[in-house]
């Protein structure tokens, strides 16, 4: 009974993501067609001659009306066809899929790092106002959002690679002396472990640590800030006063009552944090020459490989919509009031 209504709520959430997806598709379509000048020229790339431009025009249906073009675009998307990358000469989808695990591995580890630091920090700061940890939290929070992520990355490289020499050179996912682990999940660390190859695991992890910390540092600040703020707000609420007046133990008050309620605004912030993260991912990948989809997009931008850039934007947007969907579903499961609004 309760399960079925939860499922219905989750279904409702999935339906609510449809307008976002539609919006994303329309915006990316408009972005390609609103180009000043001839889109076919852009898509054919800078080195194209008149014949190949004409060929691209035909392929993209650019000689037809806009609604027809939109339908063709939808059809292409449905078939998973994002066009050809001019710089590599292969389908954009293939390129993105090949590089996606690298980006995902980096982003997930960064998220793990960020959450495992920011949540305890925010909670401790909120429960001990004006203590040293509260002050530390405030400094980290304000300084953290002020750090340009590419700048942090560079200086971590300078300190840990150039000066201390404990980090490997910031070039890619694994040192050139090692072979890539056999591909199972696409995550080098996990694949190496599955393969039982601890050396490779260590090598992959050591490459991963600095970029993940760089990315994590940037997202740590908004999360710690929100955790602290939400905990402070919840701790001064009437129902916490009730819980204290009922003599409930400190841990019950703090975790069962306060933290569960504070999770709601924190989850909301997490959506924003994902946005920051996917964006900064591009910068971090450039700094560490990380072979993910961000680096791919930057290379494509430089050579005006238009289909590749559009494919990248679309892929990132879909990924982000999916992440938000997960957050929404988590939210629905924590907050019983959500069902009423649906």
């Amino acid at each position: 009974m309760a399960n079925r209504s939860t499922l219905a709520l989750i279904g409702g959430r999935v339906l609510q993501a449809i307008p976002s997806i539609a919006g994303v598709i329309i915006v990316t379509f408009v972005l390609t067609r609103a180009l000043p000048g001839d889109p076919a020229v852009y898509f054919a790339g800078p080195a194209a001659d008149a014949a190949s431009i004409e060929q691209v025009r035909q392929a993209l249906g650019l000689d037809r009306t806009l609604p027809e073009q939109f339908l063709i675009y939808l059809g292409d998307l449905a078939r998973g066809d994002l066009g050809q990358s001019i710089s590599t000469g292969r389908p954009v989808v293939e390129e993105l899929l090949r590089r996606m695990p690298a980006s995902m591995e980096l982003t997930l580890l960064a998220l793990l790092f960020s959450l495992s630091v920011s949540l305890p920090l925010g909670i401790l700061a909120a429960t001990r106002p004006n203590s040293w940890i509260d002050h530390l939290c405030r400094v980290i929070v304000t300084a953290g959002v002020s750090l340009p992520v590419f700048f942090t990355g560079l200086f971590l490289v300078y300190i840990f690679y150039f000066i201390l020499g404990i980090a490997p050179s910031p070039l890619g996912r694994i040192d050139i002396f090692y072979l890539d682990p056999p591909k199972i999940t696409g995550f080098f660390t996990i694949d190496a472990l599955l393969d039982g190859d601890l050396d490779t695991f260590g090598a992959a992890l050591s490459q991963l640590v600095l970029p993940a910390i760089t990315l994590g540092l940037f997202t740590l600040a908004p999360l710690a800030r929100m955790t602290r703020g939400a905990m402070l707000a919840v701790l001064s609420s009437d129902y916490i006063r009730t819980a204290r007046a009922s003599g409930l133990s400190r841990s019950t008050v703090l975790y069962t009552y306060a933290l569960r309620n504070a999770m709601l605004p924190i989850l909301t912030t997490l959506g924003m944090v994902f946005s920051f993260m996917l964006g900064s991912n591009v910068l971090v990948e450039k700094v560490f020459a990380w072979p993910g989809i961000g680096s791919f997009a930057i290379e494509a931008l430089i050579v005006s490989d238009y289909a590749a850039v559009q494919g990248f934007v679309l892929a990132m947007a879909f990924l982000y919509v999916a992440l938000n969907l997960i957050i929404d579903i988590l939210y629905t499961m924590v907050d019983p009031r959500i069902g009423l609004e649906g």
Partner: protein, 584 residues
């Protein structure tokens, strides 16, 4: 006389004994002495009322007894002895054992005092698990029994409910169940009925009283409402700015109040037979009004005919959403269901009912802030309902109908000075573009409502509640309206301020010859100002007639329940209570 001051348990050891308590608060403006030299005792089986207006330190006292004062507050002296244990110096771990098990507390605003994302049953079980040795498998039964004890119907169903699924009154019952689940000896009730409807208020207070008697509880009732306290408490402690000014048995306090503040408070609390002039104790101008005086003409100034207002129940962003309550079904909700009423020129009519009865919707339509679904609003013979509310602000008729709002704080723009608030209608409606003339009129108005002229340059947050109410009234009468709607104008004010504001309103009506439509939930207050009263329930008028007649002889059962529920200073009730508690 001295005999009646004896409490029934005199001589026995009090369960709670407070002596010489001082509490300071550290604020930006320096140290505030929230409580000074407080002392009183509470015995088993009695209910002691701690009464005071806002800022008197009564809630701080309650939090302090439970040791849940927030970190800005600090006890700087005195003792709180609970069953021989000094609560102030007791370690936190000992206090945690006492809270919820031996001493419990219930709060105002029960809907936010419960954890919003935890079921009612779980919240009760949390307390049971903490303080009792009930086995896990019996836990649910014990929680349901606790709900049953506070007379919640279908406790098995309520066990799985979340607070947002319950009404305010029901949430307060759950709070009481939570507080009494572990059978404590002391219950502290901090304004337990504030924010609830009057009829719900009565059932909640009756419940607290019954349970207290059943379980021989010592109860401390903290309230701003002297009427409420007089009805339920054997002894009263009156507080003013952190100090106890008087402490005596309820009957003694009423028949022979010693302290001037107590006298003022008793005077200002409306009774069944009090007249407006009694509230402030000052002699009113000769020939002063009473509500009964017939200054009214036979011509209706306002005639409302068959007024209907429906709201969509779907997702709406309307600012009336709050009035719709929880109804989310698809059929439109009828807030006002075909009512007709008249207000004669110069007459003062009361519109009474509980929240959600449609009285505020009606007043908004009459004020032309809201369009009716059907019906006529005839003002001086002209149907104002034909003019859409959206454009009414720019019509000449706008001057004729003005309103005094419920919350004086919320109804003043925080970025406007008092002067600018009062001058705004003069500029927009009276067309007084000359600054000097406007200033002259503002000063005249301030004088009329008794607002010191030097306060005109202040912002709302620099004014007291009473001063803000005066600004609101001055603004409303600035363009000399013929009809003034009073939307619960005193419900956010302390009783002593309420007394002054009511008198001011009566004076102004006499002086300016306005008609009043007084919207309120409190029949006792309405009666003071209005000759005729209309009672609304669920969008309809259930009874209508002269105020004195309705109060003394209500025909409709709902009106009777409403009159019965409104707490007022009732000597008979206090007397009965005193007798009932007399030891055999």
């Amino acid at each position: 006389m001295t005999d009646t001051t004896m409490t029934p348990t005199e001589g026995a050891i009090p369960i709670l004994s407070i002596d010489g308590l001082n509490v300071d608060f550290r604020t930006r403006g320096g140290v505030v002495h929230a409580v000074r030299g407080l002392g009183f005792d509470v015995h088993r089986g009695e209910m002691v009322g701690v009464v005071g207006e806002s800022g008197s330190g009564k809630s701080v006292t309650a939090f302090n007894i439970m040791g849940i004062l927030d970190s800005a507050g600090q006890v700087t002296g005195g003792k709180v002895m609970f069953r021989g244990l000094d609560l102030i110096n007791a370690p936190e771990s000992a206090l945690r054992q006492i809270r919820g098990r031996e001493a419990s507390m219930i709060f105002q605003n029960p809907r936010v005092a419960l954890n919003p994302i935890r079921t009612v049953g779980d919240q009760i079980e949390d307390v049971l698990r903490r303080h009792t040795t009930i086995l896990r498998r019996d836990m649910k039964q014990a929680a349901i029994a606790a709900l049953d004890a506070v007379r919640i119907r279908d406790p098995e169903d309520r066990y799985n409910a979340y607070p947002f699924e319950l009404s305010g009154g029901m949430c307060q019952r759950v709070m009481i169940a939570l507080a009494l689940a572990c059978d404590p000896d002391l219950l502290i009730a901090d304004e337990p009925t504030t924010g609830l409807d009057v009829t719900t208020q009565k059932t909640i207070m009756d419940l607290i009283q019954d349970l207290g008697r059943e379980r021989n509880l010592a109860t401390v009732l903290i309230t701003h409402d002297l009427g409420l306290a007089s009805r339920y408490c054997q002894r009263l402690v009156v507080m003013q700015s952190g100090e106890v000014v008087e402490s005596a048995a309820t009957m003694t306090l009423f028949t022979a109040p010693r302290h001037p503040y107590t006298q003022k408070l008793i005077r200002a609390t409306p009774r069944l037979d009090s007249r407006l002039a009694d509230l402030t104790g000052e002699a009113r101008a000769a020939g002063s009004v009473s509500a009964e005086r017939a200054t009214t003409s036979a011509e209706p100034l306002l005639s409302v005919r068959n007024l209907v207002k429906e709201f969509d129940s779907g997702a709406s962003t309307g600012w009336f959403a709050r009035l719709r309550g929880k109804g989310t079904d698809a059929t439109p909700f009828r807030a006002v269901d075909g009512i007709s009423l008249d207000v004669m020129a110069g007459e003062s009519v009361g519109l009474v009912g509980e929240s959600g009865c449609g009285k505020s919707t009606t007043s908004s339509i009459v004020t032309r802030l809201l369009d009716p679904t059907e019906g006529q609003v005839l003002f001086d013979g002209q149907d104002l309902a034909l003019i859409p509310a959206a454009g009414f602000a720019l019509r000449p008729e706008r001057k004729q109908i003005q309103m005094v709002f419920q919350d004086p704080t919320e109804s003043l723009n925080p970025r406007f000075t008092a002067r600018r608030c009062i001058a705004d209608p003069l500029l927009r409606l009276a067309g007084m573009s000359d600054a000097a003339a406007r200033e002259e009129r503002v000063v005249e108005l301030a004088d009329m409502v008794g607002l010191p002229v030097d306060l005109l340059g202040r912002f709302p947050h620099q004014l007291s509640g009473g001063q803000k109410a005066r600004v609101g009234i001055a603004r409303a009468i600035s363009v000399s309206p013929r009809l003034l709607i009073l939307d619960e104008p005193t419900s956010a004010l302390d009783v002593s301020v309420q007394a002054i504001v009511l008198n001011l309103l009566a004076d102004l009506r006499e002086k300016l010859g306005m008609s009043y439509l007084f919207v309120s939930h409190d029949l006792n207050v309405v009666r003071l100002l209005c000759s005729r009263v209309i009672v609304m329930q669920a969008g309809r008028i259930v009874e209508e007639g002269p105020a004195s007649e309705i109060l003394s002889n209500p025909r409709d059962p709902y009106t009777r329940a409403l009159i019965d529920a409104v707490p007022h200073l009732d000597m008979d009730a206090a007397n009965r209570l005193a007798k009932a508690e007399e030891p055999a």
